[in-house]
């Protein structure tokens, strides 16, 4: 968890150095947190011997982040919508929806254990 905090700090620091605005930085931070949380909890299931691989490219016009875990993967299309009334009181299950809402592109690999996300500096969502 602390490693995740350090990683988010590093990516955000580079985004801020590029002059990204607070809304875009918030979006990148949120999406990275959600991707890391999913990889730790649902992908690797807290198994210490499994790794999470993160690559990021913070450019002048966009930021791309890839997070891969060593879990079995999942079908992102099968995750219930957390915004419908019957799911509002569920404490979990919002991560993928938030990544999609706050990033401009979110793509999973076929196995479902690697996600690539892109945020444009301007003109994107949220």
């Amino acid at each position: 968890m602390e490693a995740a905090r350090g990683l988010a700090e590093e990516v955000l620091g580079r985004a801020e150095a590029q002059g990204y605005g607070p809304e875009v930085c918030f979006a990148i931070r949120l999406a990275l947190e959600e991707a890391l949380s999913n990889a730790i909890r649902h992908g690797n299931r807290f198994e210490a011997n499994k790794k999470i691989t993160v690559s990021s490219c913070v450019g002048a016009e966009q930021t791309a982040i890839t997070v891969a875990d060593e879990g079995e993967g999942f079908d992102p299309g099968a995750v219930p919508d957390p915004t419908v009334d019957e799911n509002l009181e569920k404490p979990c299950g919002r991560g993928i929806m938030l990544m999609r809402a706050y990033m401009d592109e979110v793509m999973y690999n076929k196995a479902g254990n690697e996600v690539r996300m892109v945020k444009h500096r301007s003109g994107g969502r949220t």
Partner: protein
């Protein structure tokens, strides 16, 4: 503060009559969610009728942090208590709208509005 100047989580609880006000400052990242959950559940265990969360100084919250607030909400409901959200920053307000949690929790502009009388 983190090395790059981001504020770490700080929780300050005060009492206002029967109600409690918890001021959440800084960030509620996944590493912080358990601390928030424990603090809210402790207050809920005291059967506080209303817990107002002052979000005016909260810079960031992830879904794990939102989950901690929901755990507190569920625990409060055992004794018909409730959690109210007060004065979120624009980005957090947007997050509450995106998740529709603004429908689950009342969102108020001030502590006085959240705790009338």
């Amino acid at each position: 503060m983190t090395p790059s100047g981001r504020r770490l989580l700080d929780l300050q609880v005060s009492r206002q009559g029967d109600a409690a006000v918890m001021k959440i400052s800084g960030s509620v990242a996944m590493a912080d969610a358990e601390r928030l959950r424990t603090s809210l559940e402790d207050l809920a265990a005291q059967r506080v009728p209303v817990i107002a969360l002052d979000l005016s100084e909260m810079d960031f919250i992830s879904s794990a942090g939102l989950g901690a607030v929901i755990f507190g909400h569920l625990k409060c409901r055992h004794h018909h208590g409730q959690i109210k959200l007060v004065n979120p920053t624009p980005q957090v307000r947007q997050l509450l709208e995106t998740t529709r949690l603004n429908k689950l929790f009342g969102v108020y502009d001030s502590i006085d509005q959240a705790l009338p009388g």
